[in-house]
Symmetry: C2
Subunit: 452 residues, 2 copies
C-alpha cells in the first residue's frame, strides 16, 4: 500500500502554482530530479490541463518512460490531448514490447494511426509483436537480445558488446548457431571472470532453458518464479532465438494475474484494465452474468422456504435463524475457498492430495461448527425459542459448516484437475450453493426433532 508520505515528488500545490504562474523552466528543473515512475504518479494527481502541460515539458526519453508507466484515466487523457506525432516519437523510444503493450490497449483506429506515424523499422517490429496472441511470451518479449557465436573469443565478444548501441539486458548472453538456433548461454559474470583468449564455446552452458513464443504468460510467470530466473529466452518452434522476457515484465504479469484471480474470487469476471479505464457498462457486463446466475440459483433457497411453509407457520421461531444458518454456511465456505484456491495456485494442493485437504477442511469445519453451535444455543435461548429449536440450530450449524467447507474444497480442486481455472469458483458461488442445501438440512432436522 502506498501513502502520500512515500510519494517522491514535490507537493501538488507547488507544481500547480508553477504552472499557473508560467514558471516552466523552474518546473522543468524540478521534474528532472524525479524518477519517471514518480512523474507518472504525479500526473495522475494533477488536473488534466496541468498534467498535459507538465508532460509536454519532459524530454523525449523521459516522456516515453513516463508514458509507459502511466495507467488508467491519465493515459487515456494523454492519448487524447497529446499530439499524435509526439506520441509516435515516444513509442519509437520505448522498448518495443512496452510499445506493443501500450498500443494493444488503444482502440484499433488510434493504434493504427500511431503505428503509421512511427519510424518504419520500429513500426515493423511492433506489428510483428502484435501479431502474436495476447498474453503470450511472443507479446511480452523484447527482441533486443545479444546473440553470440560459439567460435568468438572473449576479447572479440567484448568488442562486439562495446559496438552495440543498446540492449535491454546483458545479464545473460545467448549463443546461437548460424541458423540463429539457441545453443547455449554465458552469464555475463562468467565472461568477466575469464581470460581474453578463451572461446565462447568453452564457457557456455548448453543447458539453456527457454520458453516457446506461444507460451501463455501465466506459464511464463510460473517458470520465472520456479527457477528464479531474471531473463528467459523465447524461441520459435524451430528453436530459433526470437527475444527475451525480463523479470520486470513478469512482475507486471503477476500483478495482472493476481488482479484477475481476486476479481474472480469476488464473483465477477476480471476487468483486464485499470479500474478507472473501464466504463460503467463494461463493469456491469463483467458482473451481471454471475450475479444473475447466483440470483437464479438463490431462488432455490426461496423454494426450500416455500416447501417448509407449513412448518414455519407452526414454529415461527424457525424463521429467525434462516439468515444465520445461510450466512454462517456462506462465510465458512468463503474462508475455505480463498485458502484452497490460493493453495492450488501455489501448487500446494492438487487432486492427488484432495483427500488430505478435504480431511483438514472437514476437521476445521467440525471444530468451527461446534463453536458456532454452542453460540447458536445461547442465541436461541436468549430469543426464548425453547430448547428444541435451540437443539435444531445447534445441530444444523456444525453440519452446514462441514458441508460448505467440503463443497468449497472439492469443487475448486476438481475444476483444476479438469483444467478449469479454479478461481471461477468464487466465495459468492459457494455461499449460494450451500444456502439452499443448508436450509434443507435445517428444516429437515426441525421436522425430525420438533415432530412437525
Amino acid at each position: 500500500m502506498m501513502d502520500d508520505a512515500t510519494l517522491n515528488f514535490p507537493p501538488i500545490e507547488e507544481i500547480e502554482q508553477l504552472v499557473a504562474e508560467g514558471r516552466l523552466t523552474e518546473l522543468q528543473a524540478q521534474l528532472e530530479r524525479i524518477h519517471p515512475a514518480d512523474i507518472a504518479l504525479l500526473l495522475d494527481e494533477l488536473e488534466t490541463e496541468t498534467a498535459v502541460t507538465v508532460f509536454e515539458l519532459l524530454s523525449i526519453e523521459i516522456a516515453s518512460e513516463v508514458l509507459d508507466e502511466t495507467g488508467g484515466q491519465i493515459r487515456q487523457e494523454l492519448v487524447e490531448k497529446v499530439d499524435d506525432e509526439r506520441l509516435a516519437d515516444l513509442l519509437d523510444e520505448l522498448p518495443m514490447d512496452d510499445a506493443a503493450e501500450f498500443l494493444e490497449d488503444l482502440p484499433d483506429e488510434i493504434s493504427d494511426r500511431l503505428i503509421g506515424l512511427m519510424e518504419p523499422e520500429e513500426a515493423a517490429e511492433v506489428q510483428e509483436l502484435l501479431a502474436y496472441e495476447e498474453e503470450t511470451a511472443g507479446r511480452l518479449m523484447t527482441r533486443d537480445v545479444v546473440a553470440l557465436r560459439r567460435q568468438w573469443t572473449i576479447s572479440e565478444t567484448f568488442d562486439y558488446l562495446r559496438s552495440l548501441e543498446d540492449a535491454e539486458t546483458l545479464h545473460y548472453l545467448y549463443v546461437v548457431d548460424r541458423d540463429n538456433k539457441l545453443i547455449g548461454v554465458v552469464p555475463l559474470r562468467t565472461l568477466i571472470l575469464s581470460q581474453p583468449d578463451q572461446t565462447i564455446e568453452s564457457l557456455m552452458s548448453t543447458d539453456v532453458a527457454s520458453v516457446p513464443v506461444t507460451a501463455d504468460q501465466e506459464e511464463l510467470a510460473e517458470f520465472v518464479t520456479r527457477y528464479d530466473y531474471f531473463v528467459v529466452p523465447v524461441v520459435s518452434p524451430n528453436n530459433e532465438l526470437l527475444g527475451v522476457v525480463t523479470v520486470d515484465d513478469v512482475l507486471d504479469i503477476f500483478e495482472e494475474e493476481v488482479t484477475e484471480d481476486i476479481q474472480r474470487l469476488g464473483g465477477s469476471e476480471p476487468l483486464d484494465q485499470p479500474y478507472f479505464a473501464v466504463s460503467v457498462f463494461q463493469i456491469v457486463r463483467k458482473r451481471i452474468g454471475w450475479l444473475l446466475l447466483l440470483f437464479v440459483a438463490s431462488t432455490l433457497s426461496g423454494e426450500v422456504i416455500r416447501l417448509f411453509q407449513n412448518e414455519l407457520d407452526l414454529v415461527v421461531a424457525l424463521g429467525f435463524f434462516i439468515t444465520l444458518i445461510t450466512g454462517t454456511g456462506g462465510n465458512a465456505g468463503s474462508q475455505t475457498v480463498a485458502t484452497i484456491i490460493r493453495a492450488i495456485t501455489l501448487d500446494e494442493v492438487r487432486l492427488s492430495n484432495l483427500g488430505a485437504a478435504w480431511w483438514r477442511e472437514v476437521s476445521v469445519g467440525l471444530l468451527l461448527g461446534l463453536a458456532m453451535g454452542a453460540v447458536g444455543i445461547v442465541r436461541a435461548l436468549l430469543w426464548n425459542t425453547g430448547y428444541e429449536v435451540a437443539l435444531v440450530v445447534a445441530l444444523t450449524l456444525p453440519i452446514i459448516v462441514i458441508w460448505s467447507t467440503t463443497v468449497a474444497t472439492v469443487i475448486p480442486i476438481v475444476a483444476d484437475r479438469y483444467r478449469i481455472d479454479p478461481t471461477v469458483i468464487s466465495g459468492p458461488m459457494i455461499a449460494t450453493i450451500v444456502d439452499a442445501t443448508g436450509l434443507l438440512i435445517y428444516f429437515s432436522l426441525a421436522k425430525l426433532i420438533l415432530g412437525i
Copy 2:
C-alpha cells in the same frame, strides 16, 4: 497453474522403482539432469521414506538448493529425518538470507541446534540477519554484495571482481566510501563498455536508490515493481551499505503478500505458511474470530425478522424472498469489495477519488439492481405471490444492490485512509453487514406498499 504435463522430472513410478530395486547410481545420474526446483517438487510427490533416500543421494550443492525450494510437509519431514550435521552443512552452502528464512520457520530449539552446528562465520551472519525484524529488508537481504571504491580504475575493478569467490549478484556494482557509506552505483554493462584506465568515479551514477534496513517487505516489493529494479541496495540509518535484496526474493514476497490478501478477502486471518504446514488448530484459530464475529453480527438479521414477525404472519410470501434479498446484496457487495480492494492495492483508488469510485459503483449497482429487480418480478409472479409482493421485491433489489456496493466501496477506502489494511474488509463481512439492513429495507417497503 501447474499441471503434471509441465513437471520436468521422470514419472514417479520410475523413481520409486529405482529406489525399490536399489539402483541408486542410476537414480543419481537421473537426478543430476533435473533442476533443483523440480527435484523439490518431485520430493513432494514421493513417499517420505523414498523422498529422504532421494535427498540423501544429492550432492551438497544441489541438496542445499533443493532444501531451499521445498515447502510445507516435505520440508518438515526432511528436517525430522535428515541428520542435523548434514542439514547444517546444507545451510552453510545457502545464501545467508535463504538460510535465515529457512531457520525462522523452524521451532526455536531446532533452529538453535542447527545454528550451533553451522560454520562459525555463517552462523554469525545468519544470527545477524535473524536479529532484524521479520518481513523487513534486513531479513531478506543478502550480504554478498560487491562494493567498489571510487578511485579504482576499470582494470583494477576487473582484477578485484576476478578475485571474488562468490557474489550472488553482479548486475549492479555499488561504490562506497572509506566508512562503507553508499555513494554510487555502476551497472556492470557500463563497466564493460568502458576503457581500462577510466576510474569508477567517472562512470558511477551518484543517483543511487536504496531502502533502509528496517523497510517493510511490502514497501520493498512496491519499490521494486514501481521502478523495475532487479537489485536494491539496503542501507543502515547512517547510509552504510549492508546488503542487497534481489528481485527473485521480491517475487516470493509478492506471492506471500498476495496469499495474505486473498485469505483476508475470503474472511480469515492469513496463514503465513504453506497450507499443509499449518496445523488444523492453527487454521481454526485463524478463522474462528471472524466467523464468530460475523455470526454474532448476523443474529441482527434474525432480530429484523423477529421484529417483522407480525408482517410475516400476515403475508407469508414475504418469507420466500429473505435469502434472495440477502444473497443478492451479499454477492453484489463481494464483487465490489474485491474490485475496489485490488484497485486500492494498485494505488488506482484512494480517498481523493472516493467520490468518483463511489459514483461508478453506484451506477453499476443501479444497473445491476434494475436487472435483478426485473428478474425478481418474474420470480415473484411465478410463485403466485401477487403483484404487490412482486413490486416490493422489485423495488428492494436495486436499493439493496446500491446500498451494498456503497458499503463495499466506502469502507475499504476509508480504512485505507486511516492506515488500516483494506483487506480486513472481506466479502463475508460486507455480506453480513448488508444482510440486516437489506431486510430492514425489504420489510419497511413491504409495510408501506402492502399497508400491513
